[in-house]
C-alpha cells in the first residue's frame, strides 16, 4: 500500500503540482485548501506526511501544526512547511511550534521529493 500525504495549500495550482509530483513518485495524496479543511479531511484517514503552506485563510499552517501535534494520531506525523524566503518571521514561529522541515518556494519537484524522501520511506 502506498503511503498517503496530505497536501495543504490555499492555491489550487500549487496543490496540483505537489500532488502530481507525489503521485508520480508513487504516493497517494489528499488535498486540503486550508488548516481547517485539512483537520476535517484527517478524520478517518491515516496520513504519513503533511505538506502544508504557512499562509492560508481560516487556519494557517503554524496553527495546523500545533493542532496536529496535539492529536494523538498525528502527533508523530512529519510535517513539511512550504514557505517563501520573505517569511523569516513566520519561519521563526514555525520553528518554535516544532516545524523542522522547510521547503522554500519556489521549489522544483526534485527538491520537494528530496525533502519527502528524508522524512518518509517510499
Amino acid at each position: 500500500m502506498s503511503k498517503t500525504i496530505l497536501v495543504v495549500d490555499d492555491s489550487a495550482s500549487i496543490r496540483q503540482v505537489v500532488s502530481m509530483t507525489l503521485k508520480g513518485a508513487g504516493y497517494s495524496t489528499i488535498e486540503a485548501s486550508d488548516g481547517r479543511d485539512a483537520l476535517a479531511k484527517l478524520t478517518g484517514n491515516r496520513v504519513h506526511l503533511v505538506i502544508s503552506d504557512v499562509n492560508m485563510p481560516n487556519m494557517d499552517g503554524i496553527t495546523l501544526l500545533k493542532e496536529l501535534k496535539a492529536r494523538p494520531d498525528t502527533k508523530f506525523t512529519p510535517v513539511i512547511m512550504l514557505t517563501t524566503e520573505s517569511e523569516a518571521a513566520k519561519k521563526e514561529q514555525g520553528r518554535a511550534a516544532g516545524a523542522k522541515a522547510w521547503v522554500v518556494k519556489p521549489f522544483n519537484p526534485q527538491q520537494l521529493m528530496a525533502a519527502v524522501g528524508k522524512l518518509i520511506m517510499p
Binding site: F76, P78, G98, K100, A101, A114, G117, K118, L119, M121
Partner: protein
C-alpha cells in the same frame, strides 16, 4: 508528467542495455588487456544506468540487486579483483535475474526477489574478498529495516568510506522525524557499508521516555557524494542532532589536491576549507562560534583539528597554501616591476606636458581671462604633482649600492692586511635610478682609494695613537635639491705638500704658484696625477680620480675634497636630485631668457645703481655681508645698453653666495632639462637647455660653474 510513457522507455532501454551486457560478458574471456578494460567499462555502465533509472521509478528491488552487481563490476574494472570463468558465469546469471526483475516490473507482478539471494551471497564474496576489517566487528543491523540498501558485512569497511556519526535529538520523534527514513534516503546517495547503532545514550528503564529518541548511528558510507550533499540529508534534524561527517582517506587526498590547485587569493582558513569541501558551512559556523566562546581565542585551525583529527593533513595543506599566497601577495604589494623604458617614456611625456602647460599658462595670462587663468593654474598645480610623482617613480634608495661595498671593503682590506670597518648611513636616501646605476663605478674608485691610500697599516695607526681598526664611511643625505654622497675615511688624509711636489714633478703646477690647500686637493682630479709612490694592484695608476670627476660631471654633479692631514679625508659628491625636470627661475638679459635652478636662488633685490657707482667695485653690502656681483650682461658679452633698472638674483651654491645682475625677472617655471650637444661640453657655466612656454629655447645656467668662472676671472684680474 507522464510516468507511464517514461516507464516504457525505461523497460526498452533496460532490455537493450542487458543485451549489450550479455554480449560483452560473453567475450570477456580471452581478449587483450585494453579491450578487456573497455568491455568491463561497458558492462559497468549498463548496470549503472539500469540502477539509476530504476531508482527514478522507485523500482527498488531492481536498484537493490543491481547495486551489488555494480559494486562488483566496479571492483573488476578497477582491477581490485580478477576476472575468471566462475565470475563471468555469476555475472551472466545476475544479468538474467535483472532481466527477470525488469520483466516483473513491466508486468506489474511481484518480483521474485528470493531468486536473487543466492546470487547476492556469491557476489558478496567478491566484495568482501580483500576489504579492510573494521573496529565495529559486531555491527548490529538496524532492526526491522526492509532492505532498500544492501546489508553488507561490517568487515567490508575500508578507509575509502565516509564515516558518519549521527545522534538524533531527543525530540526527533515528536518532530515527526523518523531516523530510519534519513538512513534510507542516505542510501540513495551511495552505499551504506555498515550501520552501527550507538546504544550508549539509552537511559535506564525508569528514565526512559518512549516518545523520546535515543538513537545514534555510526555509519560507514561509500559514496561519490560531496560532504555538503551528505550533510544535506540530515538537513531537517541537524539543528537538534549531533552530526559528524569524516571524510574518507581518498577524499583527503582530493581535498589536498584541490587546495593546492586553488587560485592564489588571500583567503581565511575557513574559506579555503569550505571551498574545497573539507568543511561544510554549518561545520564552519559551529567551529567559529566555539572559537568566540573560548578565552583566549584559539586559532580556527586548532579548533577544527580538535574536532576532527582526520582533517589534520587537509588543515596543513590549507595553512601552507594560505601562507604561500599571503607571502606572494605581500611581495606583489611591495613592488611592481615596470620596464625602465616605459618609465622613461612616461617621464618624457610628463616633460612635454610640463612644457605645454607652461605655454598654456602664458597664453591664458596674455588673454587676461580670469576664469581661464584660474583653471589653468589649477591644471598646472596638478601637473606639478604629476611631475613629482612621475619622477619619484624613478627614485630608488641608494642602500643596495652601498651595501655592495661591505663585501668590497672586507675583501680588499683582507688582501692588504688592514682591519677596516665600513659604516653606512642614509641608505634610505633616494635618488634617480639612472644616477644610482652610474654612481657605482665612481664610488668604487673612491672607496678603493680610501682603503688603499687613506687607511694606514695597522702598525702605523697604532703608532699614531689611532684605533687599530680603520673606518670608512658611506654617507648619503639630501641638501637643498641635491643629493650628497660622502666617502670618508679616518686615515692619513691628503698632504698638501706631497700633492704640491707631485704636481710640480708632473708638470701640472708652476713652482711659483701659491695655491690654497683646497686648490691643491683639487689637483688630484687632474688627468695623469697619482700620489701613490708605488702603483698598487688596486689604485694609484693615475687614471682614477679624473675619471671619477668626469663620471660625476656627466651626472651634472661635482665632487669636493675635504681633508685634514692625519685625521682622514672625505670625498663629497654632490648630485642633482633629478636629471630630467627641475624648478627653474627665469631671468632675462637683453632679449634672451635664461633659467637658474630655483633651489639655488635665495632672493631677488633691485640693483641700486647709486650704491654701486660709488664704490666702483662689483660688491654690495647685503645686510652686513659682502655680496659679490656677477654682471650677466657683461659676462655673456651682450651688446646694447643696460636698462634703467636692473635686478640682483642672490644665489647660493656650495657655501658661496653671489648676486647675479640681470635685466628682468620672469619668475618660476618648471623646466625640462634638455641636454646640450657635444659641441657645448666645454662651456663651463651652462648645464643644459630648455624650451620655454612660448616655444623659445633658454639656456640653464650652472651656478656653481658660473661662480667658479667668476672667481677664476677675478683672480686673474687680481694677479694682473
Amino acid at each position: 508528467m507522464n510516468m507511464d510513457a517514461a516507464l516504457q522507455t525505461f523497460f526498452t532501454e533496460s532490455r537493450e542495455l542487458l543485451e549489450d551486457m550479455e554480449s560483452q560478458l560473453l567475450q570477456l574471456e580471452g581478449i587483450d588487456e585494453a579491450q578487456l578494460q573497455e568491455s568491463l567499462n561497458a558492462v559497468f555502465r549498463a548496470a549503472h544506468t539500469i540502477k539509476g533509472s530504476a531508482g527514478i521509478f522507485n523500482l527498488d528491488f531492481i536498484v537493490a540487486f543491481t547495486h551489488v552487481v555494480e559494486s562488483v563490476l566496479d571492483r573488476l574494472r578497477n582491477q581490485q579483483i580478477a576476472i575468471d570463468e566462475a565470475l563471468v558465469s555469476l555475472l551472466l546469471s545476475c544479468r538474467d535475474h535483472i532481466a527477470a526483475l525488469v520483466d516483473a516490473a513491466e508486468a506489474k507482478e511481484p518480483p521474485d526477489v528470493s531468486a536473487g539471494e543466492p546470487l547476492l551471497a556469491e557476489l558478496q564474496q567478491y566484495l568482501a574478498a580483500d576489504a579492510q576489517p573494521t573496529s565495529h566487528a559486531a555491527a548490529t543491523q538496524v532492526a526491522n529495516t526492509p532492505p532498500p540498501f544492501e546489508r553488507m558485512a561490517a568487515d567490508a569497511v575500508s578507509n575509502d568510506c565516509w564515516h558518519i556519526s549521527v545522534r538524533f535529538g531527543l525530540n526527533s520523534f515528536r518532530d515527526g522525524m523518523d531516523p530510519l527514513s534519513f538512513l534510507t534516503y542516505l542510501g540513495t546517495l551511495g552505499n551504506l557499508v555498515s550501520v552501527t547503532p550507538l546504544a550508549e545514550f539509552i537511559p535506564a528503564l525508569e528514565q526512559y521516555d518512549c516518545e523520546s529518541c535515543y538513537l545514534g548511528f555510526a555509519i560507514q558510507f561509500a559514496s561519490q557524494a560531496s560532504k555538503q550533499e551528505i550533510e544535506d540529508v540530515f538537513e531537517f534534524v541537524k539543528e537538534d542532532s549531533e552530526l559528524h561527517i569524516i571524510s574518507p582517506n581518498s577524499q583527503l587526498t582530493e581535498y589536498i589536491q584541490l587546495i593546492e590547485s586553488m587560485p592564489e587569493i588571500d583567503q581565511r582558513l575557513g574559506e579555503i576549507l569550505l571551498q574545497c569541501g573539507a568543511l561544510t558551512a554549518a561545520e564552519l559556523q559551529r567551529a567559529l562560534s566555539r572559537q568566540q566562546q573560548q578565552q583566549p581565542t584559539a586559532p580556527i585551525g586548532e579548533i577544527l583539528a580538535h574536532g576532527d583529527a582526520s582533517l589534520n593533513p587537509v588543515l596543513d595543506a590549507a595553512l601552507t597554501k594560505q601562507s604561500k599566497v599571503r607571502e606572494s601577495l605581500a611581495k606583489e604589494q611591495k613592488s611592481l616591476r615596470v620596464d625602465a623604458d616605459k618609465l622613461d617614456h612616461l617621464i618624457n611625456l610628463v616633460g612635454e606636458l610640463v612644457t605645454a602647460g607652461a605655454g598654456t599658462s602664458l597664453l591664458a595670462d596674455s588673454l587676461g581671462d580670469g576664469n581661464l587663468c584660474e583653471s589653468v593654474s589649477i591644471l598646472n598645480g596638478l601637473l606639478e604633482e604629476v611631475r613629482d610623482a612621475a619622477l619619484k617613480l624613478r627614485m630608488v634608495p641608494i642602500g643596495a649600492t652601498f651595501s655592495r661595498f661591505q663585501r668590497v671593503v672586507r675583501d680588499i682590506a683582507k688582501e692588504l692586511g688592514k682591519d677596516i670597518e665600513l659604516q653606512i648611513t642614509g641608505a634610505e636616501t633616494e635618488l634617480d635610478k639612472s644616477v644610482v646605476e652610474k654612481i657605482g663605478d665612481p664610488l668604487m674608485h673612491l672607496v678603493r682609494n680610501a682603503i688603499d691610500h687613506g687607511i694606514e697599516s695597522q702598525a702605523t695607526r697604532l703608532a699614531q695613537g689611532k684605533s687599530e681598526r680603520g673606518e670608512i664611511s658611506l654617507h648619503a643625505y639630501h641638501d637643498s635639491g641635491n643629493i650628497v654622497i660622502e666617502v670618508g675615511d679616518d686615515g692619513k688624509g691628503l698632504d698638501p705638500e706631497v700633492i704640491r711636489r707631485k704636481a710640480i714633478e708632473k708638470g701640472l703646477l708652476d713652482e711659483q704658484s701659491n695655491l690654497s690647500d683646497e686648490e691643491l686637493f683639487n689637483i688630484i682630479f687632474e688627468p695623469g696625477f697619482s700620489t701613490a709612490a708605488q702603483v698598487s694592484n688596486l689604485s694609484g695608476r693615475g687614471v682614477g680620480m679624473d675619471v671619477v670627476k668626469r663620471n660625476i660631471a656627466d651626472l651634472r654633479g661635482r665632487v669636493e675634497v675635504l681633508s685634514q692631514l692625519g685625521q682622514g679625508s672625505t670625498m663629497r659628491i654632490i648630485l642633482p636630485l633629478t636629471l630630467a625636470i627641475i624648478d627653474g627661475f627665469v631671468i632675462g638679459v637683453a632679449d634672451e631668457q635664461y633659467v637658474l635652478p630655483l633651489d639655488t636662488v635665495l632672493e631677488c633685490l633691485e640693483l641700486n645703481s647709486a650704491e654701486l657707482d660709488s664704490t666702483d667695485e662689483p660688491y654690495i653690502n647685503l645686510r652686513g655681508q659682502v655680496l659679490p656681483l656677477i654682471f650677466l650682461r657683461d659676462y655673456l658679452a651682450v651688446r646694447g645698453s643696460k636698462p634703467r633698472r636692473q635686478s640682483i638674483v642672490v644665489v647660493q651654491s656650495g657655501g658661496q653666495s653671489a648676486g647675479i645682475v640681470v635685466d628682468r625677472l620672469y619668475g618660476e617655471f618648471q623646466t625640462v632639462i634638455k641636454p646640450l650637444g657635444k659641441l657645448f661640453s666645454r662651456v663651463g657655466c651652462v648645464s643644459g637647455s630648455t624650451i620655454l612656454g612660448n616655444g623659445t629655447v633658454a639656456l640653464i645656467l650652472d651656478i656653481h660653474g658660473l661662480l667658479d668662472a667668476m672667481i677664476a676671472y677675478e683672480q686673474l684680474q687680481y694677479r694682473r
